[in-house]
């Protein structure tokens, strides 16, 4: 059975989630990436969207302005979440955001933020931007449009948005860190085997 999170997301909705679980999102998902994080944390500017209980998406979409003045989501997929590592813990604390959707892993600061302030990070499969766009029902608002198309805060109403793979849960687990340890253990003997066969300088 599909597991769906609906905004506003409450702390208890996240308690039973573990890394590797697949969930879907229904409700409000706001794009928020490099400059929005920097403006809130470093420049201390107030965000134009109240993110309490909502989900953010590390994404810079392609959006088309329709003839009636409304926006159409053409293509939207996740960007590398690690770029926001520097800001995310404080971001979670200050905004009350509950679900962070992006690509790839995040670091120890975000893990701490997720544990302390109850939030999760999830991966939407990168490059699957048309799948994601078709799950956006409507772009309700567009804030900070001065930042250009990729960095604008696009406020999306989504339905069954996913698959979202939980990569950081509220218990301090980090799926990408776990995987990295697996890769590192595997890597050394494989490399030794290769090195023994490429001694071309002799």
């Amino acid at each position: 059975m599909r597991r769906t999170l609906t905004t506003p997301i409450k702390d208890e909705d996240l308690e039973s989630l573990n890394v590797g679980d697949i969930v879907y999102l229904t409700g409000h998902l706001v794009t928020c990436r490099d400059v929005a994080h920097r403006r809130l944390i470093e420049l201390k500017r107030e965000l134009p969207v109240d993110l309490n209980g909502l989900a953010i998406f590390h994404a810079g979409p392609i959006v088309r302005k329709k003839d009636d003045g409304n926006f159409e989501m053409v293509s939207i997929g996740p960007t590398t979440s690690m770029r926001m590592e520097k800001f995310e813990k404080q971001f979670i604390e200050q905004t009350g955001v509950k679900l962070i959707v992006g690509k790839g892993g995040m670091g120890p600061e975000t893990v701490e933020g997720c544990q302390k302030f109850k939030a999760v990070h999830a991966v939407f499969p990168g490059g699957c931007a048309v799948v994601a766009a078709t799950q956006v029902e409507e772009i309700e608002r567009a804030e900070w449009q001065d930042l250009g198309m990729p960095e604008t805060l696009w406020v999306n109403r989504v339905k069954d948005f996913g698959p979202l793979i939980i990569s950081i849960d509220t218990k301090g687990n980090n799926l990408f860190e776990q995987n990295k340890e697996i890769f590192d253990v595997k890597k050394a003997p494989i490399l030794e085997k290769i090195k023994s066969q490429v001694s071309f300088i002799s």
Binding site: V123, I165, L175, L191
Partner: protein
């Protein structure tokens, strides 16, 4: 042909082709992804491969860019020395980029460095990026179009090794880059490796390696062996789609090389994400064209 007409014709072809490349993966990549998907045994990885396949179908059906990051537009040109409109190519490719940005639509990805302003049309100083090679005795133009997305450009790295580090050092460097930074670059990746004298020569070759077909081999037997060893070895690590573990890590490893200074081994790695949007087209002297990367493509 009048040069203005020729310029307009080239612009039109390249605008349409660039927009097309953003929506359709080349045949070799599509085939390789289908193969990896069929072989995958990890449940989570299979779920992701399914989403990838569904995405490409939807992009085709809805005529939309398959990934929102349509990259910085790069053209790698092999220009016949006798191509009659050489002087018009640069301007035509610039106009084609602006046109493709509207037609695609492509995301606005050109930020003027230092000014930190998005130009809004994917052109800027030295953008689109052009790389030239002259082909003696030829009168056509062969262009590799590449959309350099942010995610798969980030792992790029180059280093000059001491000869004592040998090809063993090259293998180490490739593994370090892919296992540390390739994980976030939308694997399974196509890995381009350049082996040469300096950072810039190795880096350029590593990018050109990404234009070679998946499954093709370096003409030198030792280099081809090294490609295979690296591919098999990286797959054994099992990075999987999106770095979430799985049976494979890469679609392939392509090495390009040059002769080098005896005191250095320049090595570089460029990566292409699974949505490796590149296209190869040849424009003849009469401006008829042939597309090699996408069979049956209609512009």
């Amino acid at each position: 042909m009048d040069t203005n007409v020729a310029s307009q014709t080239m612009t039109d072809i390249m605008a349409k082709f660039t927009a097309y490349v953003g929506k359709h993966l080349p045949n070799d990549i599509t085939d390789k992804l289908a193969e990896l998907r069929a072989k995958e045994t990890n449940v989570l990885a299979t779920e992701i491969y399914n989403a990838m396949a569904q995405n490409q179908d939807l992009a085709n059906k809805l005529d939309r860019p398959s990934c929102q990051d349509t990259g910085v537009i790069q053209f790698f040109i092999a220009a016949g020395a006798n191509f009659p409109y050489l002087g018009e190519v640069e301007e035509a490719l610039r106009a084609a980029t602006i046109e493709a940005t509207k037609k695609g639509p492509l995301r606005h990805n050109a930020v003027e460095t230092f000014d930190e302003k998005n130009t809004g049309d994917n052109t800027g100083s030295r953008l689109p990026w052009l790389d030239w090679e002259i082909v003696p005795g030829d009168d056509s133009l062969t262009i590799d179009v590449y959309m350099a997305g942010g995610g798969c450009t980030l792992p790029g790295a180059a280093k000059v090794l001491m000869p004592g580090e040998g090809y063993e050092g090259v293998a180490q460097f490739v593994f370090d880059v892919i296992t540390n930074r390739g994980v976030n670059a939308c694997p399974p990746l196509l890995v381009g490796v350049g082996v040469s004298t300096a950072v810039e020569t190795a880096a350029r070759l590593s990018k050109k390696a990404l234009f070679r077909q998946v499954g093709s081999h370096h003409p030198n037997a030792k280099a081809a062996k090294m490609e295979q060893l690296l591919e098999d070895g990286l797959n054994e690590v099992g990075i999987g789609p999106q770095g979430l573990t799985g049976n494979a890590s890469v679609m392939g490893v392509n090495i390009e090389s040059s002769a080098r200074h005896p005191s250095t081994i320049g090595v570089a790695v460029s990566t292409g994400c699974w949505a490796h949007r590149r296209g190869k087209i040849r424009i003849a002297a009469d401006l008829s064209y042939e597309i090699f990367s996408h069979k049956g493509a209609v512009l």
